[in-house]
């Protein structure tokens, strides 16, 4: 992209080309214009086969589920995936056989819920190329990219097999002489995140933890945002201390109520543990998975139909009660 001579390493899926990215960001459409679109159009326009993808949230908390489903529905292939706390998000993409390389921090599992058979198979078959990192490593790689610097020095990964199967270099600190892990800046081609509130320009507000989304959206070439609700621009300005993503990072905005389902959305609804178990069950055989995907992803036209199949408003009302710790039986 630029005249920077970047050390060649086949395990480094994305090169820390900070000068090239400066040029890219300079030429990105930076105007504050209406970016509201549909999930279908956004995925058609902004997600290309082979792209490197970063997913916001935390596996099954505040995830952009509608966009993940649409990526599967449109049969996007050979994506690179940042496996930063990838749980249900990876499960969806693995079911669609969408990725062929992965920077791993956390994959395959759904925390205490169990292991995704499809995700496991993707790695155990040798089909997906795996490079090892950690949660902080990927978070700080996003941060270096968001800062516009080629690497972030850190004191993790050192001395382990995680380091042997990773793709970072070590450096000596010019001040202290300490050995440090130089984590290369990670600039995803595309980031997808789900937020609580956004205006039509892509100014976003989030309630609760940010996980690594602040840096992810600043590091990425293209950003698709789904939001629980669109709010007037005026309300963004009235509560400007709550704005965590500015419009110029964002390419597309889509209003998707319950867009993190079956994941948790802080202050809105809890995760649907029954449906997440249904997913894990469905993965037991190829046949049951196919049937499940035909029903919930390929057989529906959009996320709203999926929500309806999963129990619609009544189910979502129960999940809202659960989020608020309201026990209607007491």
């Amino acid at each position: 992209m630029t005249n920077l001579k970047i050390k060649d390493n086949p395990d480094l899926f994305v090169k820390p080309d900070v000068n090239g990215m400066r040029e890219y960001f300079r030429n990105k459409p930076l105007k504050m214009v209406n970016k509201v679109t549909t999930v279908k159009e956004a995925v058609e326009k902004y997600v290309k086969d082979g792209d490197y993808l970063g997913v916001g949230g935390f596996g099954a908390s505040r995830i952009p589920a509608a966009v993940l489903h649409e990526i599967v529905r449109q049969k996007k292939k050979n994506l690179g995936l940042s496996g930063h706390t990838a749980t249900h998000d990876m499960q969806i993409l693995a079911a669609g056989d969408c990725f062929n390389r992965c920077d791993i921090a956390y994959v395959v599992g759904l925390e205490a819920r169990g292991l995704s058979k499809t995700s496991r198979k993707a790695f155990e078959s040798g089909k997906v190329k795996a490079v090892e990192w950690s949660n902080a490593a990927l978070a700080w790689r996003y941060k270096a990219a968001a800062m516009g610097i080629p690497f972030m020095p850190s004191r993790i990964l050192l001395g382990t097999d995680t380091a042997k199967y990773s793709a970072f270099e070590t450096i000596t600190c010019p001040y202290t002489g300490m050995k440090l892990a130089a984590l290369p800046a990670l600039f995803p081609d595309i980031a997808i995140v789900h937020v609580h509130r956004a205006d039509v320009y892509g100014n976003c507000q989030v309630d609760g933890i940010m996980i690594s989304d602040s840096d992810l959206v600043r590091a990425s070439k293209r950003v698709i945002v789904t939001t629980e609700r669109l709010i007037p621009h005026e309300l963004i300005r009235e509560n400007s201390d709550r704005t965590v993503i500015p419009y110029f990072c964002v390419d597309a905005v889509i209003e998707v109520p319950y867009g993190s389902y079956p994941g948790n959305m802080a202050g809105e609804y809890f995760s649907d543990e029954d449906h997440l178990q249904e997913w894990l069950e469905a993965e037991k055989t190829d046949e049951s998975l196919k049937k499940f995907l035909d029903k919930y992803i390929y057989g529906v036209k959009d996320f709203n139909e999926y929500l309806y199949l999963c129990g619609g408003i009544e189910k979502l009302r129960k999940l809202r009660n659960q989020e608020y710790l309201i026990d209607t039986n007491k």
Binding site: A105, R120, R155, G159, T170
Partner: protein
């Protein structure tokens, strides 16, 4: 009062958390231990979750380290960089980790079983935050069932550093000095680490467990403290709080036999 192995491990882990200290936990047993500690030995223990939850008043056991319980009535809802940087600054006393394999230096494998990384026999989740927490927190604890498949001579893959190859190895690798494995709490015994060799060492044996049983369930050679005590069992009060306040739905303590 009778208790199962999970209840035992949670109670013992809770006793190892000092008041006014800071701990990063995951879900399950470690989170239960931290919650129990807050209600017993360490009322001012501050619990952090790697996704960003800082000092929540946990209303129930979280399902995910990123779910909304982890910042329910919290001091702050922050971010993953914020929590990890707090660890790297040296402000976090404890963390709890788990894994499929553990060697005598406390190195942990949570990545894969097998010999070929490009085609593992069993792919596991990987580091997640484990490598970060095990590298950066002052004291790392492990709670796990004790068997020879888990306590192995050599991990198939070292995901998270224990004492690596022995004394001085962590510092030589570039990890912050003074950090490392602290306790291993199993269903058979409590172990620490010998200062001179950095090797795992049995400190106390649970009631009804024999030394032979521990040896048979450990693939590597263990060290034994000069004075080995019988582990003080969970008290009625600890069990009552654990069952009634910490995990009333049996979410974690129901998992053990």
């Amino acid at each position: 009062m009778s208790f199962n192995s999970m209840e035992l491990m949670i109670c013992l882990a809770a006793r190892n958390l000092e008041d006014n200290s800071i701990v990063v936990v995951g879900t399950g047993g470690p989170c239960a231990a931290a919650m129990l500690a807050q209600k017993t030995v360490a009322p001012n223990l501050n619990i952090l979750f790697e996704a960003g939850g800082l000092g929540p008043e946990l209303p129930s056991m979280p399902i995910s380290v990123g779910d909304s319980r982890t910042f329910h009535r919290a001091i702050a809802a922050t971010s993953m960089p914020e929590i990890m940087e707090t660890c790297q600054r040296g402000m976090v006393d404890y963390t709890f980790l788990g894994g499929a394999q553990l060697d005598m230096y406390g190195n942990i494998n949570s990545t894969m079983i097998g010999t070929d990384h490009s085609k593992p026999k069993v792919r596991m989740p990987g580091s997640g935050g484990a490598n970060d927490l095990g590298s950066l927190c002052w004291k790392t604890m492990v709670m796990t069932v004790h068997n020879a498949k888990r306590f192995v001579k050599k991990c198939d893959f070292i995901t998270t550093p224990g004492y690596l190859t022995g004394p001085g190895a962590r510092e030589a690798a570039g990890l912050p000095p003074g950090t490392g494995p602290f306790k291993v709490i199993t269903d058979l015994c409590v172990m620490g680490y010998d200062k001179d060799t950095c090797r795992m060492q049995v400190e106390s044996i649970h009631h009804g467990v024999t030394k032979q049983q521990i040896i048979e369930n450990t693939e590597f050679e263990l060290l034994w403290a000069k004075e080995i005590k019988e582990t003080a069992p969970p008290t009625e009060l600890e069990l009552k709080i654990l069952r009634e306040q910490v995990d009333p739905l049996n979410y974690v303590i129901g998992r053990a036999g």
